[in-house]
């Protein structure tokens, strides 16, 4: 008994520093941000007068918030479409690349490194480079991708890219170049995860399936895909929380765009807080962002915790 108690104390002491740091710098500041979001703080001087959910009402009701509510609604739609398409692209292309690399081709290491390289860049670098690539230019003097299309005689495909204000319903087409840039950067990550997953599947299983008469497509659909499911889940969680909070890529690549076509809550929060000095309003946006991320991450944590307990 005393041995166990000692062990417990050791574990507690080892964890203590991180508990304290996390308590202050993560949960403490979350609590403080919540308090600010319920206050009247507008301007440089803190003002903690309680106003309830007024700052949230401004974000969600057009009658009270005016442009802020219009902008926030656009931001939420943009985040939704960006996240869904970004995840689909990363998972789809990443899995495809992993399956191709898993065919024991020659020079696999080279390809793996090439696909993984973009991940080592900062989103800021990616943003600047892809801004050059997708900068549209004019009809008489096209730039970037448009110049390339012009050289190939595909003028009809030239487009205004991220400066376009066209939309299909609430989906702004200007988001497409941003999604391409983000997926270019993060696809290597999903590829690496899937590749590890594929290598973790025992060859005997595939062999057994083949012996039972499964075609190669069936082997992938019935055996390999189901076994990769936990990897898909982890990838979705990691990429999902990146895309819900995306800031730096869009800030450097397109900014909020004309008519907020590429605006996201992160940029709105930054401008509101640090350019407009509306601290309470900015805190309210942060809290909404936190809730969005929590919706994705908490179920994941709960499942993985349950997994641990069962084991």
């Amino acid at each position: 008994m005393s041995h166990a108690r000692k062990e417990r104390w050791t574990a507690f002491l080892i964890l203590l520093p991180s508990i304290i740091l996390l308590g202050i710098f993560v949960y403490g500041f979350i609590a403080w941000t919540m308090r600010v979001s319920l206050s009247k703080w507008d301007g440089i001087t803190p003002d903690y007068t309680w106003v309830g959910f007024e700052n949230f009402h401004r974000l969600f009701s057009k009658d009270i918030g005016g442009v802020a509510a219009i902008r926030f609604r656009i931001d939420l739609w943009n985040t939704f479409f960006f996240t869904v398409l970004f995840l689909l692209a990363c998972v789809g292309v990443g899995m495809l690349l992993a399956i191709l690399l898993d065919q024991r081709i020659r020079g696999e290491g080279v390809f793996r490194t090439v696909y993984l390289f973009p991940m080592s860049l900062s989103f800021v670098v990616t943003g600047v480079v892809w801004q050059w690539i997708f900068s549209p230019g004019t009809a008489s003097r096209p730039r970037g991708v448009n110049a390339l299309l012009g050289m190939m005689g595909l003028e009809q495909l030239q487009w205004r890219w991220f400066t376009s204000t066209e939309s299909i319903g609430p989906f702004h087409l200007a988001l497409i170049p941003v999604i391409v840039a983000a997926a270019w950067q993060m696809t290597g990550y999903t590829m690496a995860m899937y590749l590890a997953g594929l290598r973790g599947i025992p060859e005997e299983l595939r062999e057994a399936a083949r012996v039972d008469g499964a075609t190669e497509t069936q082997v992938y659909r019935r055996i390999i895909m189901p076994m990769l499911r936990p990897i898909t889940l982890s990838a979705l969680i990691v990429l999902g929380h990146i895309s819900l909070k995306i800031f730096d890529l869009i800030y450097t690549m397109t900014g909020k765009g004309p008519g907020f076509v590429t605006d996201v809550p992160g940029i709105f929060m930054f401008e509101t807080t640090f350019q407009g000095n509306h601290y309470a309003q900015g805190a309210a946006i942060s809290i909404v962002m936190l809730l969005m991320v929590a919706l994705v991450v908490v179920p994941y944590l709960v499942t993985s915790m349950r997994g641990e307990v069962e084991r």
Binding site: I44, V67, G137, T138, F162, D248, F260
Partner: protein, 443 residues
């Protein structure tokens, strides 16, 4: 027993994932100025109480950094014992610096003096928050009350006190044009908004893009809009917008929005992808005929080796002849400045004729005083000095002189929507709401 172990495992897992998540969050949350911030904090760590002077600004490169160093040189000659700490934060046209400054001021760690746009950006952010000391006594002690034009004194004053020392003046309402294109087509730079559209139509017919625009940042939309408003409604009505005397729901603002929308028929297609310097480049390259932008364009052209009046021409924005829409960088005196004596000495250098004539030729702006040494400035700046001395002065809202930062972000949001859909009615409603939100207009 087993349960306990599981419990610790779970706890460790939660903590680790939380750490991992917060680690992932860090790069996403920080704006792109880590280098400047680190540098600035490192220097601020020097022991207090020494004979130092810490100056905070976002002048990190080019002519403006050279100009700042020239002022430092003058200071060093006068006060050789004082160690100058040049605290700069690069990037974002000052928005990164402002975020760092706000953090320092809120935590009671002000620099001795900091760069801030003269006018409401200073007054509505820092003076109302009771973070500044008035500098009226410096103006009086040095006999500057007559050296600065009354229009400038009005912009930097509130509650019967002066709050900062302006070091330079930029002009917002300038129309830059390509002299070659205008000569070939037998055109004169337009004097009124009606002329503007006649000229633009003629240029369009001649196959030239009439006007350049580079509004990758919404501030460039604001910049054009403030000039269109000034050109359409004149200086009195324009100035009234910022005091609540001119109705944002009125016909003048409507006409301004309609004029702006009409102008968009004459600009380059890719304006939303360009920055101001790329748009300025279009004019000297002959890709566009005109460009409405502040007079830092002249500084940019000088850096390209171009000569004013030969390689490019300029005129007041149509409808704004005799009016000088100004913006200005200034330095203030924060309360609790660690080296107050040195800060006052610095402000005396920054506001002196000597200091301004050292700074401005390098920065490409004109002195805020009316007694600058003309010989030091190029043809464009000389003409700006003449106009500044004689014209009616109005403040620019885009660059912090006319309105609070909170109000400007509200206008920016309205303009961001407007440039996409050009819906005049919705824009006017949103602009009127922004004025109400700023606490200047009543509902």
């Amino acid at each position: 027993m087993r349960n306990n172990r599981v419990w610790f495992l779970v706890l460790a897992l939660v903590l680790m994932s939380a750490l991992a998540l917060s680690a992932c969050a860090a790069p996403a949350a920080a704006p792109a100025a880590p280098a400047g911030e680190g540098e600035q904090q490192g220097e601020a760590a020097a022991p207090a109480g020494e004979n130092q002077l810490e100056i905070f600004s976002w002048w990190t490169a080019g002519g403006e950094a050279d100009g700042l160093n020239a002022m430092y040189e003058i200071f060093k000659q006068k006060y050789p014992d004082v160690e100058i700490i040049n605290a700069t934060v690069a990037g974002g046209a000052g928005s990164n610096a402002k975020a760092v400054l706000a953090t320092r001021m809120q935590s009671g760690d002000p620099p001795d003096s900091f760069q801030v746009h003269a006018g409401h950006e200073l007054i509505d952010t820092w003076v109302v928050a009771d973070k500044m000391e008035p500098v009226t006594f410096i103006f009086e002690d040095n006999g500057w009350m007559d050296a600065y034009p009354q229009g400038v004194i009005d912009i930097i004053s509130a509650n019967d006190e002066i709050w900062s020392v302006p070091v330079n003046i930029h002009r917002s309402n300038v129309l830059w044009y390509n002299k070659g294109i205008f000569e070939e087509n037998g055109l004169e730079p337009p004097a009124t908004m009606e002329d503007f559209f006649t000229v633009a139509e003629a240029l369009k017919a001649a196959g030239v893009t009439p006007m350049a625009q580079g509004d990758n940042g919404v501030w460039a939309d604001n910049h054009l809009f403030e000039n269109v408003m000034l050109g359409v409604m004149g200086p009195e009505k324009y100035a009234g917008l910022w005091t609540g005397d001119t109705d944002w729901n009125g016909p003048e603002v409507k006409t301004a929005l309609e004029t702006y929308a009409k102008m968009m028929d004459y600009v380059n297609e890719d304006h939303a992808a360009l920055n101001w310097d790329q748009a300025a480049q279009m004019v000297v390259d002959g890709d566009a005929a005109m460009y409405i932008m502040g007079d830092w364009v002249a500084g940019y052209y000088t850096s390209l080796g171009l000569e004013p009046d030969q390689d490019y021409g300029w005129a007041p924005v149509p409808g704004t002849d005799g009016v000088f829409m100004m913006l200005s960088d200034s330095f203030g005196l924060p309360k609790g400045a660690p080296h107050r004596e040195n800060a006052i000495r610095w402000l005396e250098v920054a506001g002196s004729k000597e200091g301004q004539d050292a700074f401005n030729p390098l920065k490409g702006s004109i002195p805020a005083r009316t007694d600058g040494d003309r010989e030091l400035y190029n043809v464009y700046l000389q003409s700006a000095m003449d106009d500044f001395a004689s014209d009616q002065i109005v403040p620019s809202y885009t660059h912090g002189a006319a309105a609070s930062e909170g109000w400007v972000t509200g206008i920016s949001d309205a303009m961001t929507l407007f440039v996409a859909d050009l819906d005049v009615e919705a824009a006017q409603t949103n602009l009127a709401q922004a004025c109400v939100d700023a606490g200047v207009c009543s509902e």
